[in-house]
């Protein structure tokens, strides 16, 4: 299939997720998609549109509003031999299922002395930026990365949207995939010679010598845009896409920061106790003597995300802040 000369294929992040699900359902009869409005409605963000007609209601299974029970049912089905993909509409509602995720999915294997595995994938939309206000705008992926036993993925590119699911389903452990709502309409090119991605490593999306900008999800396009601006001023920022928030890829992170000796972390989670805190802590523990400057974090302001556009924008990390922070680190006055 790896036709070297093939043309890149352009598609949206949404479409890439849809194709990933379709491929999973086609290639493994044990796989099914379950969640609220995944079927008749076509998915709250239209990711699964069309799949009900293609695969029928047993494999595109609409659920009632009952997050705890259908996530728990996914866990049980995974333990008993299926390979479920559970969709929680958005991470905001995943709090209702957190008992099942933390107390069951994440503990079952260890607690049973390795007798059972939970090969379950939970997908959910995450993030702010659509003016959906305080109860619909959480970015909880970094928070979930606290929990041992889980793998936490944050696809930021069309390629990752297209291929992370396959790797997640091959993982014998519960994997959470956080899809950023703002990215669904983003387009990207897929290289036909690539048919899979790993779910263990961070990736340098733009090399640079002066500073490492570590980010993920919707922070990636923002950071890349900031890097463009900085490049025009002669500052070369290396942009690292974390991709995997648990377990963090220390090698790539440390490698980049050891080279640039400066680090800015861009994270749409609330700052205190964020994944950016964990990264900063690790750098400060293990790369202390390589750092030339304090680490800087650009995170969401610590507020319930407000509705009004100007307030929401002010609450989230934005490109100018990234540019300015990098500038102040690289060229301190």
């Amino acid at each position: 299939m790896n036709d070297a000369g093939a043309q890149p294929v352009r598609m949206t992040y949404r479409e890439a997720h849809r194709q990933a699900i379709r491929e999973a359902l086609t290639s493994d009869p044990r796989t099914f998609l379950m969640g609220e409005d995944v079927g008749l409605y076509g998915g709250c963000y239209a990711v699964s549109k069309g799949l009900l007609a293609e695969f029928g209601p047993n494999r595109i299974r609409d659920t009632p509003l009952a997050e705890s029970a259908f996530v728990g049912a996914g866990i049980g089905a995974a333990i008993a031999g299926m390979r479920p993909i559970v969709e929680i509409m958005t991470c905001n509602f995943s709090l209702l299922a957190l008992d099942q995720i933390l107390n069951n999915a994440a503990t079952f294997a260890h607690m049973s002395g390795g007798q059972f595995a939970v090969p379950l994938v939970i997908r959910m939309a995450t993030g702010a930026g659509l003016q959906l206000a305080a109860q619909h705008s959480h970015s909880l992926e970094g928070w979930y990365a606290h929990i041992p036993g889980l793998r936490v993925l944050a696809p930021a590119t069309v390629e990752d949207a297209r291929y992370m699911l396959k790797a997640a389903l091959a993982d014998p452990n519960p994997v959470l995939i956080f899809e950023h709502v703002v990215l669904y309409n983003a387009e990207g090119d897929l290289d036909p010679s690539i048919q899979s991605v790993d779910i263990g490593t961070a990736k340098v999306r733009r090399p640079g010598r002066d500073v490492s900008v570590l980010t993920y999800g919707n922070g990636l396009p923002k950071s890349l845009a900031a890097a463009e601006t900085l490049a025009s001023e002669g500052i070369e920022a290396e942009v690292v896409d974390l991709r995997v928030l648990r377990p963090l890829d220390n090698d790539t992170i440390f490698g980049s920061v050891a080279r640039t000796r400066r680090c800015v972390i861009v994270d749409e989670g609330w700052k205190s106790g964020s994944i950016s805190a964990e990264i900063a802590a690790r750098l400060c523990e293990d790369l202390f003597f390589e750092l030339d400057a304090p680490i800087r974090r650009i995170c969401s302001r610590e507020v319930p995300i407000p509705y009004a556009r100007h307030l929401e924008e002010a609450a989230l990390p934005q490109i100018p802040a990234i540019v300015e922070t990098v500038r102040s680190l690289v060229r301190p006055r």
């Binding site: 409605y41 509003l65 905001n92 206000a133 619909h136 302001r301 509705y307």
Partner: protein, 328 residues
Amino acid sequence: MNERLHLDRQHGQHLFREMLRIRVFEAKCAELYQAQKIRGFLHLYDGEEAVAVGVMQVLEERDAIVATYREHGHAIARGISMGPLMAEMYGNEEGCCRGRGGSMHFFDRTKRFYGGNAIVGGGLPLAVGLALADKELRPGAVTACFFGEGAAGEGEFHESMNLAELWQLPVLFVCENNLYAMGMPLELAEAETDIFRKAQAYRMPSESADGMNPIAVEAAARRAIEKIRAGNGPAFLECHTYRFRAHSMFDAQLYRTREEIARWKEKDPIPRMRLWLEETHMMSEAEFERIEHEVDAEVEASVAFAEAGRPEDVGELERFVVMDEVPQ
């Protein structure tokens, strides 16, 4: 419109006007959404107006209301003025939540209007708590808690129903059964599709009413609330209704047919009530025109109010994350 009760001319026109106010306000919202003046999620109550209007007739100033993200109708029928509601959706400082909440999160302390709650089922425990406090602090006050039939699937529904009945709290649970939770048809979501029967599993008195008829809703709510106010514990009211528009502004409505929508539109409470009021000589053509004119003017004024507003200062972003004192 058969359940006439002691409906006089004035009250009949009032019910009509209240429904119309909601309808016209929301038609304007939809327009402003297209114009991108309103953003985020916008859930319209179009078709369901009789429910909020009917229940609200029975509530007193001391009573409390908990609603969902589909709460424009409840806010208007409760008497919150349209200006601050519209301004809220503009994201302005003059909004009822200073632009922080938007369409899904209307609040008004003076009207005891406790949201605008956008987690399905999440308002029910809140209502239980309000009633628990009221039992102590405001004896005789009732909390009316509105939610869709989709919420009945959630664990919070179950836990809250039990607590309310167990502790005999003054709550009226109003289930707005519009047959769909987003695109999920009730019969695919619930093993028991008669929602009011669920209440019986908690030994809670329950009834179902024609949610397309404000008079029927008001009558049922009055029976229930009188009982609750007298200290006999909570009650449950299922209202059969239908939303005429999409779930929110992002909905292709793949899950229902045009025919079904058309069938329900025949039951539209607003033209039906107008017809009935005219036939029974309770509203003249001139009165109708006056009402329509006044409502249009009120809605236009709310737009003008919103247009004249200004965005909250960005420096205020962190204000109210933690409060300095409990507002009295």
